[in-house]
């Protein structure tokens, strides 16, 4: 018997909660994928209907919301929105370009590595928002097409984000649902990330990098960039870097300290808010805090809230249990086949649609496979497969990840349109290569 009987208080017309929740979920998913209506509106409507139609009661709906994921996202968004005001990220981007004497391939390499590192420590969207304008400016001055640079940055942001708990929303969701620490991600995913990064950059070198040329005059213009002017507030810079270091340190020490990542991120955000407002009057503080909170991506946060409730609806109605049984039936309950199937399906689905709703659905589905594999502790290969597939799959197309669309938007507004099919023609095979490497890694390390 499914959980619907205990949770559905007044399922309307006596309909079967299994069907009601399935139809609601599929329609919600389809409208999200169509991108005709804002995704936060759709997910909240889907969640609301799960409750209104009696699939869930309010208490159960709220219990489905993962506040650890939300806390971690909000905390990091606040920290990043304050830190970026200091100008440190632009400073590092320009500094790295000058460090290689403005050689085009050197710049492409440096900006790619910087993007990967930033993406591992911040979110991908913020990273590309900071790096892409500098890249476009550099390419303009070097009189080079920005396409290879932007292509590399898209790939590196998704690859870099795979490495850590906080690098990409799927990792945050998986980490929170399965109680995985920052170190768990570092030990299990970070080792393969440099391999995939080097492979990708190596291929990009042979395709584009080795042909990149710039005149001495153009390189001289890059060397005249004033990276020191990017730093707007030295005090804020010191405060931000200190708090960011403390938060990362807190994540690393989370287990011995017995704190959840969300608590650490929220405490870090509160501390940085305090430090960056100490010298302000109460009125200025109110204005400043409002500005910072406005930078939190509330659309994403409410999208998550709605999604968690919608997924709770199909979970409680027993839909996921049935899907898990069917999936295990197809793989014959074989761990190797199940892990690799999850990896590949996650990658391909994430290349085509938003990976967040997919991962939100897969988490309870994988959890329900625990009895087949002898307990939750034996599911680890499946979690790492899901994380690698969902994060790396974002490279498969222009719509695979939010960061990709941000890059495409900037490129288009600067007169360098990135077309969907040509991008996919190059990106999808490269993404598949990264998934082959990930498959070998999963097989050798866990299976």
């Amino acid at each position: 018997m499914h959980g619907s009987a205990e949770t559905a208080t007044h399922i309307i017309f006596g309909w079967d909660p299994l069907w009601v929740s399935s139809i609601l979920f599929v329609v919600t998913y389809a409208v999200i994928v169509s991108e005709k209506i804002n995704r936060a509106i759709v997910s909240l409507l889907g969640a609301g209907l799960m409750v209104m139609l009696g699939v869930l009661n309010q208490e159960t709906a709220i219990s489905g919301i993962d506040f650890n994921t939300l806390g971690l996202l909000i905390g990091m968004m606040v920290i990043v929105s304050i830190t970026k005001r200091s100008g440190i990220f632009q400073y590092i981007a320009v500094w790295s370009a000058k460090k290689v004497k403005a050689h085009p391939w050197g710049i492409m390499l440096m900006l790619s590595v910087v993007t990967a590192v930033f993406s591992a420590l911040l979110d991908n969207v913020t990273t590309v928002l900071l790096i892409v304008p500098v890249t476009l400016l550099i390419c303009h001055e070097l009189d080079l097409s920005p396409y290879p640079f932007l292509f590399a940055e898209i790939f590196c942001s998704n690859i870099g984000g795979t490495a850590t708990l906080i690098g990409d929303p799927p990792n945050i969701m998986i980490g929170s649902a399965v109680n995985l620490t920052f170190n768990d991600f570092l030990f299990n995913l970070a080792p393969i990330v440099p391999v995939i990064l080097l492979m990708t950059l190596g291929i990009l070198y042979f395709v584009w990098g080795r042909k990149l040329q710039a005149t001495d005059e153009a390189r001289e213009r890059i060397m005249s960039f004033r990276e020191q002017d990017a730093i707007t507030d030295t005090r804020l810079l010191k405060q931000s870097l200190t708090v960011l270091a403390l938060v990362i340190g807190g994540f690393v020490m989370a287990k011995p300290l017995q704190h959840e990542p969300a608590s650490i991120a929220m405490f870090g955000a509160a501390l940085l808010l305090l430090l960056s407002n100490l010298h302000r009057s109460p009125e200025q503080q109110s204005e400043n805090v409002q500005q910072i909170f406005a930078k939190v991506e509330w659309v994403t946060i409410f999208f998550f809230i709605g999604l968690f409730v919608a997924v709770k609806g199909i979970e409680q109605a027993g839909v996921l249990e049935i899907l898990a049984d069917r999936a295990l039936g197809l793989t014959g309950g074989d761990m190797t086949l199940t892990a690799l199937t999850i990896l590949w399906i996650s990658a391909i689905v994430s290349a085509i649609v938003d990976n967040i709703p997919f991962v939100a659905t897969m988490i309870p589905l994988i959890k329900s496979m625990a009895p087949t594999f002898g307990g939750a502790e034996n599911l680890m290969p499946l979690w790492w497969s899901l994380a690698l597939g969902a994060c790396l799959g974002g490279n498969g197309s222009l719509v695979g990840a939010s960061a990709n669309l941000i890059v495409a938007g900037f490129a288009e507004r600067s007169g360098h349109r990135i077309r969907f099919l040509p991008f996919m023609a190059a990106a999808f095979p490269l993404m598949i290569l990264s998934i082959i490497v990930a498959s070998i890694y999963i097989y050798l390390r866990y299976l």
Binding site: G87, Q90, V94, L129, V132, P133, V134, T135, L136, L137, H140, E141, D143, A218, R221, S224, F225, R226, E227, D229, A230, T232, F410, R413, S414, G415
Partner: protein, 150 residues
């Protein structure tokens, strides 16, 4: 004090008018925008210096990278060249939604409050659908000085 006592008559932008003409009138009247009117004199929108310059001269990445721009950069030469070509084009594509209006009998302090509320420094004055002129924050400052001298 009423707005009719401090408003500043200006030309209006119309279909086919060039960016050069709009820039010249805005510069003469020291105002950041002009109303855009149909042939019948009805206000259909507004053209602002900021929007024309941002849309046609400044790509996003230049704005985002403003602080690190060096002194001798080719992107700036390109922007100057684009700006020169821009002067000859019609202003029609840059029309935005109409700005805030007040009647000429509205008190000056109401204009100040509405400017503050909407984070702007100018308003258009319209009576019976006909444009009368503009009120800027500079006009209001001059008015306050006049009041003090009385």
């Amino acid at each position: 004090m009423k707005l009719k006592q401090i408003l500043m008559p200006t030309k209006v932008a119309t279909y086919g008018m060039t960016v050069r003409e709009v820039f010249a009138e805005c510069g003469r009247a020291n105002i950041p925008a002009l109303p855009f009117c149909t042939k019948s004199g009805r206000i259909a929108g507004r053209v602002t210096l900021k929007n024309i310059m941002k849309c046609s001269c400044l790509p996003d990445y230049i704005i985002e990278s403003a602080r690190i721009l060096g002194e001798e950069m080719s992107c700036m030469e390109d922007i100057e060249s684009t700006a020169k070509q821009l002067l000859c084009v019609p202003v029609d594509p840059y029309v935005q939604e109409p700005a805030l209006f007040l009647s000429s009998n509205a008190p000056a302090i109401k204009a100040l409050a509405i400017m503050e509320q909407n984070d702007t420094s100018y308003l258009f004055v319209v009576d019976d659908g006909q444009y009368q002129g503009a009120v800027t924050i500079q006009c209001l400052a001059k008015m306050l000085i006049r009041l003090d001298q009385c």
